[in-house]
């Protein structure tokens, strides 16, 4: 029997993870609902005034996106760790880092992409001007994959642990702060009608760095968790 190539195995894994995601829609929806609820809390906690909400809106969208992406990490490796799928992946002829990258991409498609789509809705509630909307969506589209990739390392490090929840947040959040800074600032700049290519380029650069190094670190971490 011939072993499937990198592309074939990637496609098969992507389809499998997306199918599994489709079967657990409820579980996947939780972080999205969380995103909306967190965003709702801020006007209640501060004030419904338009000026204030406009001022803090981009930051709130980004903080809520960051928290919800950390919350979604629980579903990334947990079930595959429990039923032994990850062990099979580690033993398969394909590089583990490659397979984990595909898993992370599938995870982003079901958890990060919906955030990018939902965000304009939330931004509307914070009176974000329409001109700033493309910049915000672009920053989220470039930033949330990095959040998933960094989160994948954190999830891999804690995959074998029983009490992983708060620990994952503690590991991942400090590492994610640059994304938060550049993402929120891009939206801020767009609201003032300024050039946003600077922060967007930086977000893209960090994303490529995370794409190249993140899966290697995650694979090493999964191997530790499997022992």
């Amino acid at each position: 029997m011939q072993t499937p190539g990198l592309v074939d195995s990637a496609l098969a894994l992507l389809v499998r993870d997306l199918k599994l995601g489709y079967r657990r829609l409820g579980e996947l929806a939780n972080p999205l609902v969380f995103f909306l609820v967190v965003a709702t809390l801020f006007p209640l906690a501060t004030s419904p005034e338009k000026e204030l909400l406009m001022e803090i809106g981009p930051g709130i969208v980004w903080v809520a996106a960051l928290l919800s992406s950390v919350l979604a990490l629980d579903t990334l490796y947990r079930s595959d760790m429990d039923d032994g799928t990850l062990e099979q992946m580690a033993l398969s002829p394909q590089p583990l880092a490659w397979l984990l990258l595909i898993k992370t991409i599938a995870h982003w498609l079901v958890s990060g992409l919906p955030l990018v789509i939902l965000a304009p809705l939330v931004a509307q509630a914070f009176f974000l001007p329409a001109d700033a909307m493309p910049a915000m969506v672009a920053s989220l589209a470039l930033g949330t994959p990095t959040l998933s990739l960094i989160g994948s390392i954190g999830a891999a490090l804690t995959a074998g642990l029983r009490r992983g929840g708060a620990l994952v947040a503690m590991l991942v959040l400090p590492l994610s702060m640059p994304i938060l800074i550049f993402g929120a600032r891009a939206t801020d700049l767009a609201m003032d009608g300024l050039d946003v290519t600077g922060p967007l380029n930086l977000l893209a650069a960090i994303m490529f760095l995370a794409l190249s190094l993140g899966p290697i670190a995650a694979a090493a971490a999964i191997r530790v968790s499997l022992d």
Binding site: T158, L161, A220
Partner: protein, 245 residues
Amino acid sequence: MWTWFHKLSSPPHFYRLSASLIPWFGWLAAAFLIVSLYGGLVTAPADYQQGDGFRIIYVHVPAAMLSLFIYMFMATAAAIGVIWRMKLAHAVAVACAPIGASVTFLALATGSIWGKPMWGTWWAWDARLTSELILLFLYLGYMGLRSAIDDTNRADRASAILALVGVVNVPIVHYSVTWWNSLHQGSTLLKKGGPALPPDMALPLFGMIIGFMCFFGAVALTRVKREVLVREQNSKWVKDMVTSK
């Protein structure tokens, strides 16, 4: 070179070596710290802008430098541990974390004490202070991950990966925070290293830095001794050494 490396990596040899090095580091640290603190607090002239308040830098700057140095040192030890599967290197990395966290806390605390008379507030979202705070979070995450994993071998490797990921992140964090801050307020207040310090101000500062380094050496080696004892408790040499006393 390699025989030296192998000899160093043997736990009994390292244990004896550190036992003989600790007093040297310790007394050097004490001497440098006492003399330089005297130099910094007494003989150095007052700053023409900040008066005697500037003397806080004699404890703040060494702490801030050491906090970053220890993280780099810890990550290097972790990398050696992962690449050459050297258990002793992991023991060194573990020993660094609490010292690094406490020194980072010290840098934050003295920085904010300095900020009160100079800026008028205990805390400012200044780039240096903020990245120092994130560094503290990285240390706490490292220690949290270790304490969550029971098996020493697994904890070693998992925390090493985290330390290495953190090292890639440290320059990005620093750069992003600087950029973030420069948009909000000109960092005119905190332009360090502008005019070079005159020698009678600079010498005590160098002395303090050397003293802090020696202090780190002494405490880290002491902590490594403890780690080696725990890890080698089933070996003959530890048993012989403990029972023969």
